[in-house]
């Protein structure tokens, strides 16, 4: 059953078309890896799903409810309601530096009056435990390594119990030796059947964890499907060139 439907997404920055008629569906429990060269529009596509970019045309719907239909956004209240079903993890973590790890997790539920203080406390501790950082609850983000920050960011996104979790190059800002701990957390989430869309350069992750791979280039989806097919026996010339370049690096 599809949980997210994207149809003919269009987006331009000035005269530059960054997204040209992007369409794809996400089913429940899918882990979708979006790959492609920089500037291909993958991040813009992901960001438009939570309205960090306004799209110029096309439709986005979650659980059958339209956030945008034919380029026209629904009422702000409904858009907000739909975005609340999604969590986002950013390349640069975007933790709140003046708040402790625990406060980073609990701020949004507290301000939005979701759950009691005790429930949120229990949930935040459970999630920190899950990402292996329960001992860092009262620490400020500046005291954490990049990998730890990203794991906190994942826990923070999970606090709202999202239906879909979006990752925008979650390991690109990390030192190579720190990517493993973040990918491990993402793998665990995949095992628990969390629906995820991951924009990434980690081909191993795409191959091992993803249920579907989307290859984008120049604002278009060139090829998508089963990871093994797309990554090992690509049909399109552009996919081959990209994979060749990436793997021979």
């Amino acid at each position: 059953m599809s949980i997210l439907e994207v149809e003919n997404l269009k987006k331009s920055f000035g005269s530059l078309e960054v997204l040209k008629q992007i369409s794809f569906d996400v089913n429940k429990n899918d882990v979708i890896a979006v790959i492609g060269p920089s500037g291909s529009g993958k991040s813009t596509m992901l960001r438009s799903l939570v309205q960090l970019e306004e799209i110029d045309g096309g439709s986005i719907s979650v659980n059958g409810e339209y956030m945008v239909k034919g380029g026209a956004y629904s009422k702000p209240q409904q858009v907000k309601q739909i975005i609340s079903k999604m969590g986002m993890v950013f390349q640069h973590f975007n933790l709140f530096p003046h708040l402790t790890v625990r406060e980073n997790l609990e701020l949004a539920p507290k301000l939005l009056k979701q759950g009691t203080v005790a429930e949120n406390r229990a949930l935040s501790m459970e999630l920190l435990e899950k990402v292996g950082l329960s001992d860092k609850a009262d620490v400020l983000p500046a005291k954490l390594s990049g990998g730890q920050k990203q794991r906190v960011a994942i826990a923070r996104a999970l606090m709202r119990k999202p239906d879909i979790l979006l990752f925008d190059e979650p390991t690109s800002a990390l030192d190579p030796e720190l990517t493993g701990e973040v990918l491990r957390v993402m793998k665990d989430l995949a095992k628990e059947h969390m629906t995820m869309i991951v924009v990434t350069h980690e081909m191993e992750f795409a191959k091992d964890v993803a249920s579907k791979v989307i290859f984008m280039d120049n604002g278009e989806i060139i090829e998508s499907g089963n990871p093994r097919d797309v990554l090992t026996t690509p049909k399109m010339e552009r996919t081959k060139t990209f994979l060749h370049r990436t793997l021979s690096r």
Partner: protein, 219 residues
């Protein structure tokens, strides 16, 4: 130079210092929030409001504080017809002048603080579902204030010293009493004493801000 003499001039000078300190406290308490409102006005999407705020800041920072004080205290009452209603207590008028002037400087300081906040902070707040008000109150303001703190501290020390401009609008304050004693007793001591009192005030202020900076540090 007797100890008794020192005591005898210290008393009026400390009374003068009271005016200095009261002016400082009033000016800082009112001009900081006012400055922040100005910052918001400058960044407002309502163009006339932004233009008005920018012009205000330009005028306040582009003319001498002394001129502004003289204008409010001695100039306003000279305006035909409404002038007679604009005669206010000199100390109150001076406070007003300081508040209006310093609000413009604080507005610039806070604007710098806002610019230093990463756009990722707004993006994370939005995706987490925080309203614009919540984002401002819980994410932006605390960070902006912390970033602006060293500049605010610097501006506060300048404010302490600028209170000496009360002298020019004939409000008795620390410097006024020192000057009187120097003229009367023909000695340099009251000036030295005044200097020491200013130094003590700015020292307290500096220590306070250093403490605050340490307490609020998050990087």
């Amino acid at each position: 130079m007797s100890f008794d003499y020192l005591l005898s001039i210290l008393k009026p000078m400390l009374e003068g210092a009271q005016a200095t300190i009261i002016l400082f406290i009033v000016a800082i308490i009112v001009s900081i929030p006012l400055g922040f409102l100005l910052t918001l006005a400058v960044r407002s999407s309502i163009k006339p409001l932004a233009w008005l705020a920018n012009t205000y800041i330009y005028v306040m920072r582009g003319t001498p504080l002394l001129l502004q004080l003289l204008f409010i205290v001695f100039g306003l009452p000279l305006i035909p017809v409404i002038g007679e209603y604009l005669v206010i207590d000199r100390f109150v008028a001076a406070c007003l002048g300081f508040i209006l002037n310093y609000a413009a400087y604080f507005a610039e300081i806070f604007r710098g603080g806002l610019l230093a906040i990463d756009k990722g902070q707004y993006e994370a707040s939005k995706v987490l579902g925080l309203s614009r008000w919540h984002t401002m109150r819980h994410i932006v303001l605390p960070q902006m204030f912390r970033i602006a703190l060293p500049a605010v501290a610097n501006e506060s020390v300048t404010l302490v010293k600028d209170t000496a401009l009360l002298y020019a609008v004939a409000v008795p304050e620390l410097l006024h009493f020192a000057q009187t004693a120097v003229n009367r007793d023909f000695t340099i001591v009251p000036f030295l004493l005044a200097g020491i009192i200013y130094l003590l005030i700015t020292l307290c202020l500096t220590l306070f801000f250093k403490w605050l900076e340490r307490r609020l540090r998050f990087d």
